[in-house]
């Protein structure tokens, strides 16, 4: 089928919904993982944090990481995924690698790139404390992978 004939309204709508869902899932996961890492480290250092304050932190950070920070995470993921998902689509088209592998990889790569760029602009240190250490960093990549997996699932063409 010629490429131009593939750009139908249903396809565009499905791609857009898939993209937005992927961004939301990646952002929510990244935010929650980041907040949990910060709280866990505080408790390891001796702070006692009641369950209600854990929840309050998670909810605050969902808002704060996009609207209160020097490197808004939500818009960054929006921008990262708008590059990463089409890149994965091209790799799938030309290399035939499975979607279930490529899209999560693309999402994780987008997150890694975002964190790297942020670090470059802040004296070489991360402003997301939840990413220090390999476990915290890995969770952020996992958040990106979740988003990519959502995109893979929702954007798949139905027979």
């Amino acid at each position: 089928m010629p490429f131009a004939e593939k750009i139908t309204l249903p396809r565009v709508r499905r791609a857009t919904i898939s993209y937005l869902a992927a961004v939301i899932v990646a952002y929510v996961a990244a935010s929650i993982f980041q907040s949990l890492c910060v709280l866990i480290v505080l408790e390891q250092a001796g702070a006692e944090i009641p369950a209600g304050d854990w929840l309050r932190t998670l909810l605050h950070d969902l808002y704060g990481f996009t609207f209160l920070g020097y490197a808004p995470l939500g818009p960054a993921i929006l921008a990262g995924f708008i590059i990463a998902m089409p890149a994965a689509a091209m790799l799938h088209r030309f290399l035939g690698l499975p979607r279930g592998f490529l899209y999560p990889l693309a999402g994780a790569t987008a997150m890694a790139t975002i964190l790297y760029i942020v670090k470059l602009n802040f004296y070489g240190v991360t402003i997301f404390p939840g990413t220090r250490g390999w476990s915290g960093y890995g969770l952020q990549l996992l958040a990106g992978a979740f988003g990519g997996a959502v995109f893979a699932g929702l954007s798949k063409q139905r027979p």
């Binding site: 935010s31 980041q34 907040s35 910060v38 709280l39 480290v41 505080l42 390891q44 250092a45 001796g46 702070a47 944090i49 304050d53 854990w54 309050r56 932190t57 605050h60 950070d61 704060g64 990481f65 996009t66 609207f67 209160l68 920070g69 020097y70 490197a71 808004p72 995470l73 802040f122 004296y123 070489g124 240190v125 991360t126 402003i127 997301f128 404390p129 220090r132």
Partner: protein, 388 residues
Amino acid sequence: MVCFSQMYPGKKKIMRNVIYSAGLLWAVLCTLALAADEPADYQIETITDKLVLPYGIVFLPGGDMLVTEKPGRLRVIRAGVLQPEPIAGIPEVFTGLEGENQQGGLLDIVLHPRFAENRWLYLSFSEGDDKANTTSVIRGRYRNGRLEDVSKIYTAIPDVPKAIGYGARMAFLPDETLLIAFGDRFLPREEAQNLGSSLGKVIRLTDDGGIPGDNPFVDNAEALPEIWTYGHRIIIGMLYDSVSNTVYAHENGPKGGDELNIIERGKNYGWPFAGYGLDYSGGYISPFTAYPGTEQPITYWTPSPAVAGMTLCRGCQWSEWEGDLLVGALAGKKAIRIRLRNGAVTEQHILFEELDERIRDVRFGPDGALYVLTDNVQGRVLKVVPKR
């Protein structure tokens, strides 16, 4: 032509009321804005504009001033003129970042309380490399235009692979012990609560680097015996007031939450368990602004002016400022005069916004004038006196 009042006769009164209300609101807002700013009852003279990132200044008997430059130089200002050659005998420093982003290097300077007799001065500085660097303190005798008998009296632990967050302000107590503040070095910030680490602490040493026997944690096997207080972020201003027998210190918050604290033996100042700022990411550093067992600041600032340097008017040239603290501000590009009554902040006034300069340090000199260091690769020493 039909005018507005003819088209809508009942609305003319409303429009008039709206205009009057807007004017009244504007007048109130202007008044409030003016009340926060200090009237310009001062005049400013530039002593020198040839310094690179000056950090600390002291005044010697005889009138000379010594100023540290972060790139690693100790400079002399004599009779109002910057001497061309830096003082010899300064150790090699680690500067880390370049230009105005530089946070490390040669940092604070203090004189021994009996400097006129023993010539000891103390310098804090960063040393090491990109992979492992720390903050150290040396003392040396300043004689004949150079530093002699230099010895290192302390090195903070652990090393950190970052070039930020040093703090490193110092202040002598009347018993000739030395307080030194070490920043948390920006992650791992929980080190500020770890009594086995120098980071995020104020330590207290004897004037030759020994451990005073009455430090609060000398009997704690898991604590560094030199620790005086803990739970700090980055202290860039600290002083001892002999009249009130009080140590004041302020510290930078991350995004909001700069604090002014009274430093007392053995206390925990809460970082990062509690604070009034957010992380640079926009998330919580902690869900708490207060935490049991930790001290509250006597005031805090949000958004952060990035307070830096501090001095206290005791017999300064402004008699109406007697007992007031002055702090500089880096990001805020101003100074803040803080009125204290019985240890509480009652007023704050803004100064020097017209300079539009990052202010690194403020010190009242022996002449009662205020000396200001600007944080710039073309740094200035300013002398401020009351307007005649």
